[in-house]
Structure formats: structure tokens, C-alpha cells
């Protein structure tokens, strides 16, 4: 093979690869916007959720760590300093007038102060927080098991999801409908490690991490663990709520089932 021919071939291959990759890339970006492509790709989410549910017994616990494993710096992500006037007023008086509302498909709607939540049975756990971005931090959380709250409020038989409405508005749109919210299925809501935490690393939960109350759902990714929880609602359907995908990030394209 002559050197000249080899160079030509290399040039041809390089050009060919560049053209192919540009087509592929442009193609994928266009494809990403097509509804049918989204539907096909979404089929994988269903498959993942069904498979993980089948492999994961309802009681299986996320790994718990020791004090020695605690992260020196636990990264605060998403909203870290909400500027909503109502929330700032609550921060100012130490959440003294703050109450958690529990409603929706329950027999007995609740309205609980922080002291009342603290008086309930608690669970303390040192767990790993996995962000969808790829990093992990280990923190110690103390809070009231969501199962205990739901037991107190007595779920109606048609309740299928628990929805969490939060105080923060990440993109500062000033609109109620753009505030953070999340939802979990009952199986995750009553999991022993699912708690509403009011303490982190033996301190009162700081604002950056969701004061006064943040959700911990230890078998899923960080964005499920809503911060600044103000109100909880039991519902039978999440498709009718806000963007219809079951959460703030879900409405922006992230998976509702965040087990991977």
C-alpha cells in the first residue's frame, strides 16, 4: 500500500467519521425533541422501575454508615437560601408559628408544630445522599417516620401517592405553581427509613439543607428528598398536579422513579 493512498484513506475516514458523528449528534438532538422518541426512551424508565421494585423488597434498607463516615462538607444543592417573604418571616422567628399541614385523602387532617413533630417517635440514621449529578455525601438525619404521621392521619383506602409541597422557588418566578414539590409512592412513603428530618448531624436542620423539615427517601436520588416541606397531601393521582410528572424536576424531564 502506498503512503499516498494510506493518507487518502485516512483523510476519507476522518472526514467520514466527522460527518457521521455530526449527523449522529444533530440527529440525536433533533430526536430528543420528538415526542415518539421521548416515549420510546421513557419505556426504559418503566422497565427500570418495575424491575427495581421486583428486586427490592419493601423493607430492604439503604446502607447505614457510622459517625466516622460523615462528610466533612455536605454539599447543599438546589435551593439553599429561599427568598420567599413568607418563608423568610418563618426563619426570622425560628419557625415558632410554623405548622406542617397533612391533608388530602386522609381521615384526620393534621396541623403539627415543630415541637409536636419532635414529640413523636423519631428515627436517626446515617445515610448516603446520592445526587443525580453523580456525587455522594454522608449525613446523619433525625426525624419523624413518615409512616407514623400517615398512621396518625389515617390514609383513605384510595390514597396511592404522598405529595410534598415546599416553600422554595428555585427559579424565583414568584409564582406558587413554580415552587418545589415532590411525590412518592406509598411503598416508599411507609418505608422505615423514610423520615421527615428536623435535625442534621445533631444540629437543628439548617436553612441550606431545608429547614425546618426535609424529606429523606434513602433508596432514591437526592432530588426526591424535598427540602422546606410545608404541606403533605395524600392523593390517588399525580398526573393532575402542576406539570403532571409528580415533582419539580420531574416536570423538567427527570425520572419520577429515581432509584438509579
Amino acid at each position: 500500500m502506498s503512503g499516498q493512498r494510506s493518507l487518502d484513506r485516512r483523510g476519507f475516514l476522518t472526514r467520514g467519521l466527522a460527518a457521521a458523528s455530526a449527523t449522529l449528534l444533530g440527529g440525536c438532538d433533533d430526536l430528543s425533541d420528538q415526542p415518539w422518541v421521548k416515549r420510546v426512551l421513557d419505556s426504559a424508565e418503566t422497565l427500570t422501575r418495575v424491575t427495581q421494585r421486583a428486586l427490592l423488597s419493601p423493607q430492604a434498607l439503604a446502607r447505614e454508615y457510622s459517625e466516622a463516615d460523615l462528610s466533612k462538607e455536605f454539599k447543599a444543592n438546589g435551593s439553599t437560601d429561599p427568598q420567599e417573604p413568607d418563608y423568610l418571616a418563618q426563619v426570622k422567628n425560628g419557625f415558632a408559628d410554623w405548622k406542617l399541614a397533612v391533608g388530602g385523602l386522609v381521615e384526620e387532617p393534621l396541623s403539627l408544630s415543630l415541637d409536636e413533630l419532635r414529640a413523636m417517635p423519631s428515627r436517626t440514621q446515617i445515610t448516603r445522599h446520592d445526587c443525580v449529578e453523580g456525587w455522594s455525601c454522608i449525613g446523619k438525619w433525625k426525624g419523624v417516620p413518615l409512616a407514623a404521621l400517615l398512621e396518625k392521619a389515617r390514609l383513605k383506602p384510595n390514597a396511592r401517592y404522598i405529595v410534598f409541597y415546599c416553600a422554595d422557588n428555585l427559579f424565583d418566578t414568584g409564582e406558587e405553581k413554580d415552587k418545589y414539590y415532590e411525590s412518592v409512592a406509598l411503598v416508599d412513603a411507609v418505608h422505615p427509613q423514610t423520615i421527615l428530618a428536623y435535625e442534621m448531624n445533631d444540629q437543628t436542620l439548617p436553612v441550606a439543607h431545608g429547614a425546618p423539615l426535609r424529606l429523606r427517601v434513602e433508596r432514591q436520588l437526592g432530588y426526591k428528598m424535598a427540602k422546606y416541606v410545608m404541606r403533605i397531601e395524600a392523593v390517588d393521582e399525580i398526573a393532575t398536579i402542576r406539570g403532571g410528572q409528580g415533582g419539580f424536576w420531574e416536570d423538567l424531564g427527570y425520572e419520577w422513579y429515581a432509584g438509579i
Binding site: 440525536c28 438532538d29 443525580v132 449529578e133 456525587w135 455525601c137 438509579i260
Partner: protein, 271 residues
Amino acid sequence: MEKREVIYRHSGAVRITHWINALVLLFLLMSGLQIFNAHPALYLGSKSTFDDPIMALQAVQDGDKAKGITDILGHTFDTTGVLGLATDADGQPDERGFPWSLTIPGHRDLSMGRRWHFFFAWLFVFNGLVYLVWSLLSGHLRRDLAPSGQDIKHIGASILEHAQLKFPRGEAAKRYNVLQKLTYLIVALVLLPLMLVTGLAMSPGMDAAFPFLLEILGGRQTARTIHFITASGIVLFVVVHIVMVLLSGVWNNLRSMITGRYVIEPAEEKS
């Protein structure tokens, strides 16, 4: 003198799973780099030690100039234009781990990157299972890939032949040589399965279902690092694989992986 001979080299199952795998791995790699770009740093252990990553891609300000920096085990390299800082599709400066041209989607979109990645991850699993089950049942693994004692003995000679870019002819060309066998075995039975296992170990759900995943891999962040390194190993394999295909007769190799038919050139005449 021997004649040119055409043999049937690759079975239908190998050809189909090979090309599906090639396509699937390309999508997994590019969507994987999109996901990596959401936090372009690697750590060891269970948690991220943000001030001490073992590898990080970042953009830093150097005077009035922005630079792309790659940090590996405390050694920093200026990778402006490629890693850490490059230009986007419109030629504007773009602070990203890997450049837009290597990611799916091209623009920054973690949620779509994840959707592409997990969709192709399932295809990868199904395709890989078909290949492995078929390889075991058909004897492909034992007959074509497991090195014989004779092979192992000739490993030194085979390395030398490869280094001189001498490719076997005649009877010897009908089988994979020992380096090919070992490489394909390592890729099919170690590297590709390791991608799946380390991928699953990053899933908080699967970690709760199979806590031993974290034990054997040394923690979630180590698993993520192994996922990245193994992916790099597969990229390296593909590069070498394509170079070898080009050097050892591109049309013959391509035809054999499409139609199955492979031309054996007669062995050189002994003088």
C-alpha cells in the same frame, strides 16, 4: 501452491450482536459523558471528597484568560479547547468536562442524557445476554475464544508478530490468535459485565437490594470511578480493534462481520 479459500467465519448471532453492541456502546459512551459532565470529578470510597478528587475537569480563570484544566491525582494539565473548557457548537467558550461534540444530547441536558443512557443500558443488557447465552450453548466460547494450551505457549511469539504487524495466513488465519482470544474474552467477560455491575452499584435502589455491590466495589464513588476507567478501557479496545481491522484487511474483515464470509490468503510458500 495453496489457493485462496473462503470460509464462513462469523455466525449470524455473533454478527448481529456485534453490530448492535457497537451502536449501543457508542450511545452509552456519549450519553455517559453527558452524565459525567454534570459533575466532572471522580473520587474513591463511599462519598465525594470535593476538595480532593482523584480526577477533575474544570475551567479556571488565569489572569484575564479562562483555561480548561484536567487534574489527575494532583497533577494538572492544561486541556483548554478539549477538556474543562472548549467551544460550543456556535464557537462560544463553554465550561464543560467533555466537549459538546462527544455528548448526547450535544447541549447540556442531564435528564435527557440519563434517558438515552438507561434506554441503551437495557438494550446492552438484552443484547449481552443473548450473546453470552448463545456463546455458551453453541460452544462459541469454548471452541473459538478459550485459548488452548498450545495458544498459551505461543503467546510470546504472538506478541512479537503483532508488534511487527505480521498477520497470519493460511490455516492459522482461520482461528483467532491467542492475543485476540484473550482480548475478546476480557472485553466480553470482564470489562462489559463490569460496566453493568458498576453502573448498578451507583443506583441507590440496587444498593439497598444488593448491599454486597458496595462491599465488592469499595463504595459508590469508587464504583463510579471504576465505571469511568472501564469505559475508557473499552474505548481503548475499540480504537485498537479498529486499527487492527484496518491493518489486517479492512474489506475482508468488514465483509466477514456482515456476511460471515472471510477470505483466507494462502500461506507464504516456504523457501
